[in-house]
């Protein structure tokens, strides 16, 4: 191996960890966010970070197919989905601020607890991880759990969906940076699913609006056991 | 089965058929004496039977064949019963055919027939009577059976003749259990023969009558048969009581000499028994029908107690 690569390796490692930290930060920011538009922007930012981290991994490990997946991320998570979401919001003229079931500070506290759990769980994995990025799995897991929490606490359809997508981000991050990306077929498949899922969400928004003339999912509590 | 057994059997049967009404007559006479009445003639029962046999039969419109057949069946049952009881000798032909349990079954058969006959015409009194009869029956039967059980636990057998044989042979061992059994037996036989504390054979007062209520619709020869059967029943019971509790004198063989001796003892014992019955009837008062179950329940419990006493005191352990 040439020293340059090693150097860049170490550097790449640091960069990746930086990205990971930013991911987690953004996760918290989304959890705390009250305004829907900035929620979307944060989601876009997260996508961008994901893209950079993927590129870095691709560069440091010289895996060409990771560039592809980076491209996918860029086009899908940074450009396409935010755009669709913006249009949807304009179309559906959703109220701009987001109501949460749980109030923000509590949510944050729970989130921190979650991060602790996630790290604790991921510890053995990161220990035996031969790759340069140690903590990334833990952080990815933390992101996933945070988005999960967000899905629970948000009472509107759109934020819930954004949280869902953020969860996908976390998974992607785990897939690309913890393991050097999955086989191409899988990544394509996943991307496709996300895309279709998004479209279906879009359809649903309109339907739900039609039926309940609001996107508040608290209207959808009819089917239950008495 | 030897020749003497056959003879003894026939003698017993005939004797029972002939003497049964006499016993009833004797009881009535004693009662009359005890109640300071002038007694009817001793043979009054025979006269009544004769008169009834001669009389025309009046059948209710909707009387079924069962109604007409019942008297014969009842009579047959009673005759057979009194034939089975070892009155004179324990060496009888019919003895092995039916043991104590079958004997009780025989009485039950007769009772069922008369109860059904009572319901057949469908009058208010008939069904009332048969209900009461069955009520008394289902309490009296087990009591009687338990009396037999005590005896047969003593003698390790349920066949009447071997019971009586054992009881005659074991001279003068006092069985406390038999005392209980005897009391129970007396109570049962009072109830079974429609005697005073439970029923009154001489009344037709609607509220109290049991036996009479069932046979209200009978007349003529049918009534005669039933009355005769009733007297046979009394006779059989008395002989049974005697055979179980004061058995001495009943011969194990069937030789003519023994039979004569046995017959004479038997007559004396029957006379005494009849007097005792009359005495009881005079001294006790007719009880309400609802009290009858308690009376018989007591009898039943006494009988069971007798059995337990036997198991406690008299068995080897």
């Amino acid at each position: 191996m040439t020293p340059a690569i090693i150097l860049s390796d170490a550097l790449g490692g640091q960069l990746i960890n930086l990205c990971a930290a930013i991911m987690l930060l953004l996760g918290f920011a989304m959890l705390a966010q009250r305004r829907i538009l900035s929620l979307i922007n944060l989601f876009m930012l997260q996508g961008a970070v994901l893209f950079t981290s993927t590129v870095i991994v691709a560069y440091t490990t010289h895996q060409s197919h990771l560039y592809w997946s980076a491209g996918l991320t860029l086009s899908l998570k940074v450009i396409a989905l935010p755009y669709i979401l913006h249009r949807l919001i304009r179309k559906l003229s959703v109220k701009w601020d987001v109501e949460t079931i749980l109030n923000i500070p509590t949510t944050m506290l729970v989130g921190i607890a979650l991060v602790v759990v996630a790290f604790n769980v991921a510890q053995p994995i990161s220990q035996l991880s031969g790759t340069i990025m140690r903590a990334t799995i833990g952080i990815a897991l933390a992101c996933v759990l945070l988005s999960f929490l967000m899905m629970i606490t948000r009472s509107k359809a759109v934020p819930q969906v954004i949280a869902f997508l953020a969860m996908e981000n976390g998974l992607f991050f785990a897939a690309t940076s913890a393991t050097y990306g999955m086989p191409m077929v899988v990544e394509l498949g996943i991307a496709l699913d996300v895309m279709v899922g998004m479209v279906i969400f879009g359809v649903f928004f309109f339907q739900i609006r039609q039926q309940f003339d609001s996107l508040d999912i608290r209207h959808m509590e009819r089917i239950k056991e008495e | 089965m030897n020749f003497y057994a056959l003879i003894a059997q026939l003698i017993e049967l005939v004797a029972a058929l002939l003497l049964a009404p006499l016993l009833v007559g004797w009881v009535n006479q004693c009662r009359a004496w005890l109640q300071n009445r002038t007694a009817p003639p001793l043979l009054q029962t025979y006269f009544t039977l004769h008169k009834l046999f001669r009389k025309e039969v009046l059948l209710a419109h909707n009387a079924s064949p069962l109604f007409r057949a019942a008297p014969y069946a009842i009579f047959a049952c009673m005759a057979l019963a009194s034939a089975i009881v070892p009155t004179l000798s324990t060496n009888l032909i019919l003895a092995p055919a039916a043991d104590a349990i079958a004997f009780v079954g025989l009485f039950a058969l007769a009772r069922v027939f008369i109860a059904l006959a009572g319901m057949d015409v469908g009058t208010s009194f008939g069904s009332l009577g048969s209900r009461r009869e069955m009520l008394i029956g289902f309490l009296a039967e087990p009591a009687l059976l338990m009396v037999f059980f005590t005896a047969s636990l003593i003698s390790h057998s349920t066949s009447l003749s071997s019971i009586v044989q054992t009881l005659t042979r074991t001279d003068l061992i006092i069985y406390p259990s038999l005392a209980f059994a005897g009391t129970a037996f007396t109570m049962v036989s009072l109830a079974e023969n429609a005697r005073v504390p439970v029923d009154n054979p001489t009344t037709h007062l609607e509220l109290t009558m049991i036996h009479e209520a069932m046979i209200l619709e009978y007349s003529g020869r049918h009534l005669a048969l039933i009355e005769w059967a009733a007297s046979l029943k009394l006779f059989a019971y008395s002989c049974l009581g005697i055979a179980l509790f004061v058995p001495f004198g009943i011969s194990a063989t069937a030789l003519p000499t023994d039979l004569l001796l046995a017959a004479s003892c038997m007559l004396i014992k029957l006379a005494i028994g009849g007097f005792v019955l009359a005495l009881i009837e005079t001294l006790s008062a007719k009880m309400r029908i609802f009290r009858a179950p308690e009376f018989l329940g007591t009898a039943f419990l006494l009988a069971v107690l007798a059995m337990l006493v036997h198991l406690l005191l008299e068995t080897g352990r």
Binding site: P124, V144, A178, T179, L192, I200, M220 | -
Partner: protein, 483 residues
């Protein structure tokens, strides 16, 4: 391998065709034809596997072994019968004006798409593709559940979508973890996602990672299997979707999700060689048997009722696989088979019953046997079969499961039995009142296709009395693999 390609391709093509012509009068026939072809291809495949044993295809991305071959055959069969059933059913729905022809097109095309995704999920060798196929199946069925666009159906679909989406996401994380663990083993990383390779190297995989992975897997795919407490979407989706969809949902989808869990279990057992996965599955299984049996007794919606019963049976199967061992796994596979046959048959009958009564409310469905004996008896016999009455096959598998439980886990037996007893008491009373009594239901406009019902019940009956040797041979091999 050509058969395998056929099996996967035919539904895809049919779906494409129906996407264009699904609203036509003859669309239903195309649907049936496509399913029939799939069934034939699956039969060919089965024959091939019987003759030459397991096979790989498309550079090992797909494979067929005893474990999935009969599931493929079963899926194709139930898909075919369901398409036969849905022809008159959907026609009636259409006549009642519940569905526009556009929706009909969506239905037909999505139905085939769903079949395709199932078959892919069953036959793929790549756990990543397995995940993709499961997600795709979810998306397809979401559209199917929401077909009527009534508020209830939308709500049900939304819940289904969100809950299963989240669940599936967990499963993806598990998949990534397995892949991550595999990378530690394989120097050459291609094939690190192929189940066969993982199976070959299963003992060398890192235990801690795999245990975590299995947790994610069972939570993820368990959501789709309907394990308590992840089951909440299931009754809603069953009740609000069109009946053919309910039939394939509980008949097939649950099986496939469970199949995914079983595949992971094999790897995890290999890596840990403890009973960790088994215990986890047994725990979920018991919970999933007991809780739904209590839901049953106060149900008012008939399809919901049977949805809960499906949950219960999935719990039973999970418990069986959790116990492990030859007999239990055998019983589990058998139970998967008979349950999907019986339950889809029941849903066929229930669907027409609901159409006759014009409602799904149990108390308003009465006297089916008087009005239409075939439907009534189908419902009655099907329910008795699902309640574990001999001589139907469900009893056979329950017999094996219970006896194994008595042998190895005596403490679990009374729990199972109480649950089954309660389920019997609460379900049979309702079914009896639906089938018997003075009719309140009206006859159908088009005469129903009840061949599927009695075909399924007949198969279940045969399985109850006699299991064909080659089938039992498959089951044995599969059971040996599952361990």
């Amino acid at each position: 391998m050509s058969e395998l390609v056929l099996v996967l391709a035919i539904p895809l093509i049919t779906s494409a065709v129906l996407a264009l012509a699904g609203h036509r009068q003859y669309a239903a026939n195309i649907n049936i034809a496509g399913s029939l072809l799939t069934l034939l291809a699956a039969a060919l495949l089965t024959v091939r596997v019987i003759s030459d044993g397991p096979l790989n295809a498309l550079e090992e991305q797909f494979f067929v072994d005893p474990l999935n071959v009969f599931l493929i055959a079963l899926t194709a069969l139930v898909g075919f019968t369901t398409s036969v059933f849905s022809r008159p059913y959907m026609r009636i729905e259409h006549d009642h004006g519940k569905l526009s022809s556009g929706r009909l097109r969506l239905y037909h095309s999505m139905f085939q798409m769903f079949m395709c995704t199932m078959l892919v999920a069953l036959s793929t060798n790549n756990i990543g593709i397995l995940w993709v196929a499961m997600e795709a199946a979810t998306l397809a069925t979401v559209l199917l559940v929401a077909l009527y666009r009534t508020p209830e159906s939308l709500e049900a679909a939304w819940k289904y979508f969100i809950l299963c989406g989240v669940g599936i996401a967990q499963a993806l994380f598990g998949t990534i973890l397995i892949y991550f663990a595999a990378e530690q083993v394989f120097v050459h990383e291609e094939g690190a996602m192929l189940w066969t390779h993982l199976y070959a190297y299963r003992t060398e995989l890192e235990p801690t990672i795999l245990s975590l992975a299995f947790v994610f897997m069972i939570v993820g795919y368990g959501t789709k299997t309907g394990l308590v407490p992840l089951h909440n979407w299931l009754p809603d989706a069953h009740a609000e979707g069109p009946t053919p969809v309910s039939a394939v949902l509980s008949g097939l989808l649950l099986n496939v999700a469970l199949y995914a869990i079983i595949r992971c279990k094999v790897l995890v057992d290999g890596a840990l060689n403890t009973h960790f996965a088994g215990n986890l599955m047994m725990g979920f299984g018991l919970l999933t048997v007991v809780v739904p049996s209590f839901y049953l007794s106060r149900q008012r919606d008939v399809k919901r009722l049977f949805g809960f019963s499906s949950i219960e049976h999935m719990g039973l199967v999970t418990f069986a696989f959790g116990m492990g061992g030859g007999v239990a796994s055998f019983a589990g596979l058998l139970h998967m088979t008979v349950h999907s046959l019986t339950k889809s048959a029941i849903f066929f009958a229930v669907g027409h019953a609901a159409q006759m009564a014009g409602t799904q409310v149990i108390d308003e469905i009465k006297g089916l046997i008087r009005r239409s004996p075939t439907i009534g008896w189908g419902l009655m016999l099907g329910s008795l079969a699902i309640l574990g009455m001999p001589p139907f096959g469900v009893f056979t598998s329950e017999f094996m499961i219970l006896t194994t439980a008595i042998k190895h886990y005596p403490w679990a037996t009374p729990v199972l039995l109480i649950a089954l007893g309660v389920a019997f008491a609460s379900m049979f009373g309702k079914v009896q009142n639906m089938a018997f009594g003075e009719p309140t239901v009206k006859p159908l406009a088009h005469n129903p296709a009840l061949l599927p019902v009695f075909l399924h019940l007949g198969l279940v009956l045969i399985l109850g009395l006699w299991i064909p040797p080659y089938l039992s041979e498959w089951f044995r091999q599969a059971a040996r693999m599952v361990g």
